[in-house]
């Protein structure tokens, strides 16, 4: 299978509002596809329709050859898809380590009895999980915040934690919704470097939504530009940058 994800004629209508209107695209294995478009063009809605937060009005979504159209959000991890959210959905009243470990739940094979009695099996899985989480924290430079409550940390660190939580799921496809939004240019650059590094190291395929054209140009291998729920243009970054339709919609980008 060459394409890890194939989306055919995806429609997401909310009554009369056509948030996504007959969108078709594919994603190549191991590529980073950028998704751009003015606010309200339907980018986040595409993510929501793909991952089962919304049930698509029409269309077909195929992941690794399996039809996953309309499957619920909780099944996405099993298929191998993880995502982050534009408006940060981290666990504020828990420590950084706990936040990451929750992402690793699928690898902890204990039952209720193990949890009640803290059997050796339970201890083994907990230790493995902690080690794995700590390794990832160290990779992303988050080790020193391990015991802090996430709610009290700076916004940039919280964004990194949400990214880390999606990474530990070890998906094949990672959907990142504006990971650098709200960060200053230095923080955004650092985060993007980390994202690209992790992508290469773990062999992820990534779909990235961002408004920052500089980030898009430097990290995306292909770009899909949207407007009003429809595809505006798709192709290499240079092609998109010079596409008159895109320029029109964006008035010159950044």
């Amino acid at each position: 299978m060459d394409h890890i994800l194939e989306v055919e004629h995806l429609k997401m209508y909310f009554g009369g509002v056509k948030a996504v209107d007959d969108l078709s695209f594919y994603v190549k294995r191991h590529e980073l596809l950028g998704l751009i478009g003015p606010s309200g063009s339907g980018k986040t809605t595409v993510f929501n329709a793909l991952t089962g937060v919304y049930k698509p009005t029409d269309g077909k979504v195929t992941f690794n050859g399996t039809d996953i159209t309309g499957k619920p959000l909780e099944s996405m991890v099993e298929y191998g898809i993880a995502r982050t959210f534009q408006n940060l959905r981290i666990f504020r009243a828990m420590t950084v380590l706990d936040n990451i470990m929750i992402g690793n739940s699928k690898n902890i094979h204990t039952n209720l009895l193990d949890s009640i009695l803290h059997t050796p099996k339970y201890r083994k899985y907990e230790r493995e999980s902690k080690d794995k989480a700590r390794e990832l924290l160290s990779l992303l430079g988050l080790s020193k915040w391990e015991k802090e409550y996430v709610g009290s940390l700076p916004y940039g660190i919280q964004k990194r934690i949400e990214f880390a939580r999606a990474v530990i799921v070890e998906p094949e496809l990672l959907l990142l919704d504006e990971p650098a939004a709200g960060l200053n240019s230095k923080e955004a650059e650092e985060l993007m470097e980390m994202i690209l590094y992790v992508k290469e190291k773990k062999g992820f395929t990534v779909i990235l939504i961002d408004h920052n054209m500089k980030i898009m140009m430097s990290s995306a291998e292909r770009i899909l530009a949207m407007e009003a729920g429809k595809e505006l243009a798709v192709g290499l970054p240079e092609e998109i940058q010079n596409d008159p339709k895109v320029i029109n919609a964006y008035l010159g980008g950044e």
């Binding site: 929750i102 739940s105 193990d114």
Partner: protein, 338 residues
């Protein structure tokens, strides 16, 4: 900052050590304290603590505000009253059945709550409490209606009849301690982590594969199981129960105990239970005025320490008024420097 001299492993052991010490103190207390009234207060505290454990699991750790919790406490009490009095079922049978019946009903009630937000869970469970009270008050043939069930026999465990104040003190202390250990262990595990994830951000938790529906059902069922067990102990202890023992006011008292102790802290449940059992006795002389004190304490709590006594700071964030005043003072001081 934290205690630098304690390594992480010792830190975890530290809280276990404190709990162990407290338990031993409680075990030794009846040898030092002879006042029957004080023993009675502590026994009542232990029973309420078990109910609060259940509520803590459902509300403090999973984020479902079950305002009708008194119903499950009452279900446990009535099950024990009926089984012990009418059928002579022994202690452990009653204890188990009280828990199981409360849990099964809890499971059924939780199902409509799964899709709803916190406020509506509160409404549904309050409605259930009213249904429970209506049934109990009118099903005269079984529950004896508003008169309630009296002359509940004392429990006989391994041949010994538990009837004195001291007997019940140790019995309830033991059940509370075992419940505490079981629940702490569950909370420390993946289950507890995922439940708190659901509390903090349900969609975020689901996005990393947490089965929110199944876990919420588990938390609710387990919490109501403990409430049922507490009801069993209560019925045996006061030997006569009636519908007025399980009204809405009891639900709010349980909530107050949990909030004051600190949502998200199991030891907090014990402290909250102790506070709201013992302190009302102190201002009994205020008579009519004491009705509002619980509410007043809640308001003060929200203003100055929203996370309760032992709850985690992060749970409340910096939203208390005291915090805002502190921040303003700090800002003003900074401006004055410039």
């Amino acid at each position: 900052m934290g205690n630098k001299k304690w390594t992480p492993m010792l830190q975890e052991r530290k809280s276990s050590l404190i709990c162990g010490i407290v338990f031993i103190c409680l075990l030794l207390t009846p040898m030092v304290v002879r006042d029957a009234f004080a023993i009675r207060l502590m026994t009542t505290t232990f029973i309420y603590a078990i109910v609060c454990f259940g509520n803590m699991l459902i509300c403090g750790y999973t984020g479902m505000m079950c305002l009708g919790f008194a119903a499950f406490y009452g279900i446990g009490a009535y099950v024990t009253a009926l089984l012990a009095k009418n059928y002579g079922i022994p202690f452990f049978g009653c204890l188990l059945m009280s828990g199981v019946v409360a849990a099964v009903i809890g499971f059924v009630i939780c199902i409509p709550c799964l899709r709803l937000t916190v406020d509506f869970v509160g409404l549904i469970t309050t409605a259930f409490l009213n249904i429970f009270l209506a049934i109990v008050r009118n099903w005269n043939s079984v529950t004896n209606g508003a008169n309630g069930i009296s002359a509940i026999p004392r429990p006989v465990i391994f041949g010994k009849k538990f009837s004195s104040g001291q007997d019940f003190y140790y019995l309830t202390l033991l059940v509370m301690a075992v419940s505490f250990v079981i629940l702490s262990n569950i909370i420390a595990s993946k289950i507890g982590r995922n439940l708190q994830g659901i509390r903090d951000n349900e969609l975020g938790a689901i996005s990393v594969g947490v089965n929110a529906k199944r876990l919420k059902l588990f938390a609710f069922t387990t919490g109501t199981f403990f409430a049922g067990m507490a009801g069993c102990l209560y019925a045996y202890y006061i030997t006569a129960i009636n519908p007025n023992n399980f009204v809405f006011n009891i639900s709010t008292t349980i909530m107050q105990m949990c909030i004051l102790g600190g949502l998200g802290s199991l030891p907090g449940a014990v402290i909250g239970a102790a506070f709201f059992t013992i302190v009302p006795e102190m201002y009994r002389s205020l008579a009519l005025y004491r009705i509002g004190i619980g509410g007043l304490i809640m308001v003060l709590c929200m203003l100055f320490r929203p996370q309760g006594l032992l709850g985690s700071r992060a749970f409340a964030g910096d939203k208390g008024i005291a915090d805002r005043l502190r921040q303003r003072r700090a800002l003003r001081a900074k401006k004055a420097q410039v």
